[in-house]
């Protein structure tokens, strides 16, 4: 009896190990595949001409994606501008102010917000936000502003859940110490809790950025996808992700390779962001 259990235990362990490693394998395969398809063009056209090139006309031999890199960062910052204050306030409210009942109501609602497919966000953006921007601010409505609003809402769940964890993991003794010194609740939050949770909150912003920069469907639908670097928040723009999704269906030859090169650049940016976020989280855990 004991022996059967023993082998069963081992069997389960090995199966789980294999599945765990397979996720690593997938990551590895994706890396190899994207680099394999994307790098030849860097060799042919030149890194500088791709990353700092201003002209994207792949059927005519120009593969500059600089405007898209800039646009990707612009929508990401725009999203942070909209989402970060809202998300952080919500996290503070959840961890410090809300009662148990309110929390029971808010947390599932936030999880639901995270589960809404991005095409739904995009659709709402096209139907409501784009005409709103067009009528009240001017321009075509398909713009940096509309995209920032949509993405700002989309990154809320990421920001809220991670900064909520960071804030609740601040030891209770810190708060008690602060109260003992005669500080009010807001003073405690503002001067003690938030500074202690700083690295976790920053990590939540950076992971939110990662989510925003990788978002595709909603962005295609509301960004307008023009190739120029926008000069105002009412101008249309095209991000790295939407460039790939827009043109993949019709692309052949070098054009297709150009889209994979876009993917390589995107991968590198997301890796850097994730690295920074992990670094921030680790620092918090060690302390």
């Amino acid at each position: 009896m004991k022996r059967i259990n023993f082998t069963k235990e081992h069997f389960v362990k090995y199966v789980l190990t294999i599945f765990a490693l397979s996720s690593l394998l997938f990551l590895f395969l994706i890396f190899i595949f994207i680099l394999f398809e994307g790098l030849p063009l860097f060799h042919k056209i030149g890194l500088k001409n791709i990353i700092f090139g201003f002209k994207w006309a792949p059927t005519k031999g120009s593969f500059g994606i600089f405007p898209m890199i800039v646009s990707s960062f612009l929508v990401t910052l725009g999203a942070l501008f909209v989402g970060a204050p809202m998300g952080l306030s919500c996290a503070i409210y959840l961890s410090e102010y809300s009662g148990k009942k309110m929390k029971m109501f808010l947390k599932p609602a936030l999880e639901l917000l995270a589960g809404i497919p991005s095409v739904v966000y995009g659709f709402l953006g096209v139907v409501y936000i784009v005409p709103f921007v067009r009528n009240y601010f001017g321009g075509a409505g398909f713009s940096l502003l509309s995209t920032s609003i949509i993405l700002g809402v989309m990154i809320l769940p990421t920001i809220i859940s991670i900064s909520f964890d960071a804030i609740t993991s601040v030891p209770k003794t810190y708060r008690e110490g602060s109260f003992a010194m005669g500080a009010t609740k807001w003073q405690t939050i503002y001067k003690v809790v938030i500074p202690s949770a700083k690295s976790g909150i920053l990590a939540s912003f950076i992971l939110g950025m990662g989510r925003a920069i990788g978002e595709t469907m909603a962005v295609i639908m509301v960004a307008g996808n023009a190739l120029k670097i926008p000069t105002s928040i009412l101008d249309p723009l095209r991000t790295l992700t939407s460039n790939i999704a827009l043109e993949l269906a019709y692309a052949t030859g070098d054009h297709r390779l150009g889209l994979f090169s876009t993917g390589v650049v995107l991968l590198v940016i997301i890796m850097i962001l994730n690295y920074i976020a992990n670094f921030g989280i680790k620092k918090k855990v060690i302390r």
Binding site: P131, A140, G224, A226, L246, Y250, T252
Partner: protein, 270 residues
């Protein structure tokens, strides 16, 4: 309970797998299946045709998919589909495939129905899309920025538009890009200051087609060759099509098929 869940899961997976097309082919062994894929401009018309085709011939099943002209041609190369649809001419390296012109389609320049402008010259349209004309006032309307929309690089409609209207000039980078006729039309139908180009067959009362150089965009003018912005819709096959595929092609080229295409706003080959 977990056993129950895993049972349901595996059952649903089995069900899902059995929905696969290949299995369907086996289970409907008597049906002849034709798979068609390619240009999203051609697709809606071929879907209509295939419906009519299947009503009269219950032994056939025609499966129409999108993907884009280039994807359709690619799939034809790989022989994964019987017929590819293209809204652009074959390129030099694609010439090993057969192409059959099934009909002609006009490309119309469209604006919102509220827009009072009825007519533009070829020169003006070129100016709008190469970025020289940015304001509606320059075209004789109010002082408001023009919201021009183009298709994405590589699209068949864009390729034809560049050849027929832009000639050697490039479409400006500041112009918005959408990836299907449908979303272009949707924007023009909702934005009063928009201008774009779509397939003439897709123009309805939600958008208004402009006259170009005094010639209005309609079937009559395409037939008499007055309206010049016209491109062919192609069927692409790899080698000689088999009997079943040929039946469908013959139907599309027959008087019945051509009449349906004409009713949908396209111009027949005869």
């Amino acid at each position: 309970m977990p056993k129950m869940i895993s049972f349901i899961l595996s059952l649903s997976i089995v069900l899902l797998l059995s929905c696969d097309d290949n299995n369907a082919r086996v289970s409907h062994g008597k049906k002849h299946i034709i798979i068609i894929a390619g240009s999203t401009s051609v697709m809606p018309f071929i879907e209509k045709l295939s419906e009519h085709f299947m009503v009269d011939r219950p032994g056939f099943r025609v499966n129409v998919q999108g993907g884009g002209s280039t994807a359709g041609i690619q799939a034809c190369f790989n022989k994964t589909i019987e017929i590819g649809m293209s809204s652009r001419q074959l390129k030099q390296e694609e010439k090993v495939l057969n192409d059959i012109i099934i009909c002609y389609d006009g490309i119309s320049v469209v604006v919102h129905p509220k827009n009072p402008i009825r007519e533009l010259t070829l020169e003006q349209i070129r100016g709008v899309f190469n970025g020289q004309i940015k304001n509606w006032r320059e075209l004789g309307w109010i002082d408001r920025k023009i919201d021009a929309i183009t298709r994405e690089e590589g699209s068949g409609t864009r390729g034809s538009f560049e050849d027929l209207i832009m000639k050697n000039e490039e479409i400006n980078d500041g112009i918005m890009v959408q990836d299907s006729n449908g979303s272009v039309k949707e924007i023009v139908a909702t934005d009063p200051y928009a201008i774009a180009y779509i397939s003439l067959g897709l123009v309805d009362n939600r958008v208004r087609a402009l006259s170009i150089d005094g010639v209005s965009a309609n079937l009559e003018n395409i037939k008499t060759k007055k309206y010049k912005i016209v491109r062919p819709f192609l069927f692409i096959t790899n080698g000689k099509p088999n009997e079943i595929t040929q039946t469908f092609i013959d139907y599309v080229l027959s008087i019945d098929g051509q009449n349906i295409l004409k009713k949908e706003g396209l111009v027949g080959i005869k």
